[in-house]
Symmetry: C2
Subunit: 205 residues, 2 copies
Amino acid sequence: MRRGAELEVTDRAILYEILDAGKVIHIGIAQSNSFPVVIPLAYVRDNNRILIHGSTGSRLFRALAAGEKLCGTVTLLDGIVLARSAFHSAMNYRSIMIFGTATEISESDKEHALERFTNNLISNRWQEVRPMTNKEKAATMVLAIDLTNISGKVRTGGPSGEDESDLTLPIWAGHIPIVESYLPPIAAPDLPDAAQLPSALIELE
Amino acid sequence: MRRGAELEVTDRAILYEILDAGKVIHIGIAQSNSFPVVIPLAYVRDNNRILIHGSTGSRLFRALAAGEKLCGTVTLLDGIVLARSAFHSAMNYRSIMIFGTATEISESDKEHALERFTNNLISNRWQEVRPMTNKEKAATMVLAIDLTNISGKVRTGGPSGEDESDLTLPIWAGHIPIVESYLPPIAAPDLPDAAQLPSALIELE
């Protein structure tokens, strides 16, 4: 995305707010003698770390657990910026970049981590679902990435940096916000009558 | 994202449809003796390649133009899947992964490429904006990545793979679609009266 009215974010509260607004992180690792790989993963922030989870059989998760250096990037697209010139056109966004390594969390920490994931889908979901079995827990690897080396960039608003002489041209300029929203929930077929819509979803109906 | 009802996509028409629905690609490259880096970039598909553009001064673009191996990943989040168990909960998405290297496009190809970028913001924009100057063109590097090594994955619908015994529990299950939409355009301040809203934006007003 073109540099322009981009701002570096250093305030940790804002960095965390951006992380909390996202759901997908792109994790990249190098692979010696091969192509790097960039994988989209669900994540949740838990204090000064983010958590990711995957199958214990996953090649990526085993590489990460072994201490492979990673870069994790979260990007939220917020709008399209139309300048009077193609050159100054841009996109509005919030993005976070994290460098580090991942560490497998301890067994005693796992329950808490899995609860954080589940309640990140919709609030209170962990309290509604059938409890996780030991077999399921054993099949799930949870990794933590410390938010030590974290940076952010944000671009907002309309066009910027345009040439003085462009500003009087009869060309529309401005920006178009992009928002993400939830549609009404779609129930699985053959739900028992007693299976009521979670309260967190009622406002979406 | 947990594997479940995920489908590998091999049909090139569908792979391209997913690419055309996205606007941001996460490009990852390795960096010897350092962390890999994953950068979000605007892109547009142009036949059997995607195009990215950046400043000729960008370190990433110079590394890419020098033939650095890359992985490019596009991810569209389509929904949240609530199973009766945390373990089978998931997200719906469409994702594309491309392995390859980037090549700087020829000067004669540049005009076409920049038009593709600009008209990917909103249709016909290239025909509306002030023409690009030679100086602006010279400051912009456009790279092409061939879509030879491309793969895709899609997950749709409600929960899958749930335990037989979970299906009769009095727990709501289903999915919540997520959609991205444009809000009404916001004009830059002090637009001349003659600067009319582009016809492609009228329906958003």
